[in-house]
């Protein structure tokens, strides 16, 4: 019987270590100490990070685009996720959050209550955002209207309904290293920040492995099926991506493709966001795209 007791103790240790390794992480307040919020820059961050695309209400108009009441649904092989209310309402939204709460959500995928968020919230990209930008974004979000719409529940079946397991996903796939490595020009560095941290382009344009982790290397940005089941997201690497840098800048500005069709689907919302950025930022994103593929 002794071996059984030993086995049980070993199992307990493994579980305890596993839970400890996969616990929802947070940072201490001193990380953001001394950073002075700049809501104007926060507005740029807001557009660059594309917050409104997912958190605006269904069929938003120009008037309701900044009412971040949530409710859009995102079907995937793991279940259907509902975007939460991130308006400034202190009860229904995130009006009660500190800048540190926002940092922990964006950088660690951890809620103020200490729960794991599902990676449908693209903290796998946002984890690369700079602390100052998060503080600025927090200041800007406070200026947006409050909306009392309660959060809709995700429709995620077992086993994906177990959020504890998301700690394992984070252990495997969440890190804030840059994907594009090497000596980059200032423009490419800016492009990399906009693409890999804020724009979270890879979340749609890169294929995923069986566990939903983004594939990097030569697969990075090489297109992927739409998790909603219909169609696919375009390959941004050559030869499929044959647009010139100025074609890309025009697309990010006006939405016009080189054939003078317009951006469709979710990309139309991305273009709406990018139109708010300075032209130099759109050019930096175009430069990043033209620097693909990675080795």
């Amino acid at each position: 019987m002794r071996w059984l007791v030993r086995l049980a103790i070993l199992a307990l240790i493994v579980v305890a270590v596993g839970l400890w390794l996969t616990r929802p992480r947070t940072d201490a307040p001193d990380l953001l100490a001394g950073l002075v919020p700049d809501a104007d820059n926060g507005e740029q961050v807001f557009h660059a990070a594309g917050c409104a695309s997912c958190h605006q209400p269904e069929k938003a108009t120009d008037e309701t685009r900044l009412v971040l009441s949530g409710g859009q649904r995102f079907p995937s092989p793991f279940g259907t996720f509902a975007a939460p209310n991130i308006s400034s309402d202190p009860e229904a939204g995130i009006g009660g959050w500190s800048a540190l709460d926002l940092w922990n959500a964006l950088h660690h995928g951890t809620s103020p209550e200490g729960r794991h968020y599902y990676p449908v919230f693209p903290y796998g990209s946002y984890t690369r955002m700079a602390p100052q930008d998060v503080v600025d974004l927090h200041a800007f979000l406070e200026t947006l209207p409050a909306d009392p719409t309660p959060n809709a529940a995700h429709d995620v079946p077992f086993p994906f309904s177990m959020r504890t397991a998301l700690g394992g996903w984070k252990l495997l796939f969440l890190n804030d290293d840059w994907v594009m490595q090497g000596d980059l020009s200032p423009q490419l560095e800016r492009g990399r920040y906009l693409v890999e941290a804020m724009g979270h382009c890879a979340e749609c344009h890169s294929p995923r492995n069986l566990l939903g982790g983004l594939k990097t290397g030569a697969d990075w940005m090489s297109g992927a099926p739409n998790p909603a089941g219909r169609g696919s997201f375009p390959d941004l690497t050559p030869p499929e991506m044959s647009w010139s840098e100025s074609d890309l800048v025009e697309y990010f500005t006006s939405g016009f493709t080189p054939d003078f069709d317009t951006a469709g689907g979710h990309m139309a919302l991305v273009v709406e966001n990018l139109a708010h950025l300075p032209e130099a930022d759109r050019a930096a994103i175009a430069a990043y795209v033209k620097a693909l593929p990675l080795d």
Binding site: K59, G231, D247, E250, D261, T262, G264, L269
Partner: protein, 156 residues
Amino acid sequence: MSFSRSLVLGLSGAALVAGALFAASHAEKNPAVEARKSLMQLMAFNLAPIGAMAKDEMPYDAETASTAAGNLLTLSRVSVGPMFPEGSDSFSRDDTRALPEIWDDMAGFSAHLSDLTAAAEAMVTAAGTDLDALKQAMQPLGGACGGCHKDFRQPE
């Protein structure tokens, strides 16, 4: 004739008729659908020189730009009502991405067309001014096109 044989014959006959009806409803071109696609092509054709100038792929020329912008404005004013008859939506036909929402919300659809006319008017002025003005006018013009596509065109 046995019952099973007549059943088989009857079923295959029904299948043939259904197949023919299906083919007729899908393969036959609808002039209204073709007309609105042509209208889109005419718009794209006239956007091409303006876009090439905005992208610095072609030297700015006020006359060429103004002519193209004028054509766009004219095209934006075409009465498209007859091009959208009942039953010519993307749920009824394979050869169109025009969502049924167009017919549910004709007022919203018309509002988008008015936006396009306003953006084209602004482009006419900008195209005759200078290259900077032309570049500035691209965003609202693309926004007008994309705004309608976002609401009323089925994504690919």
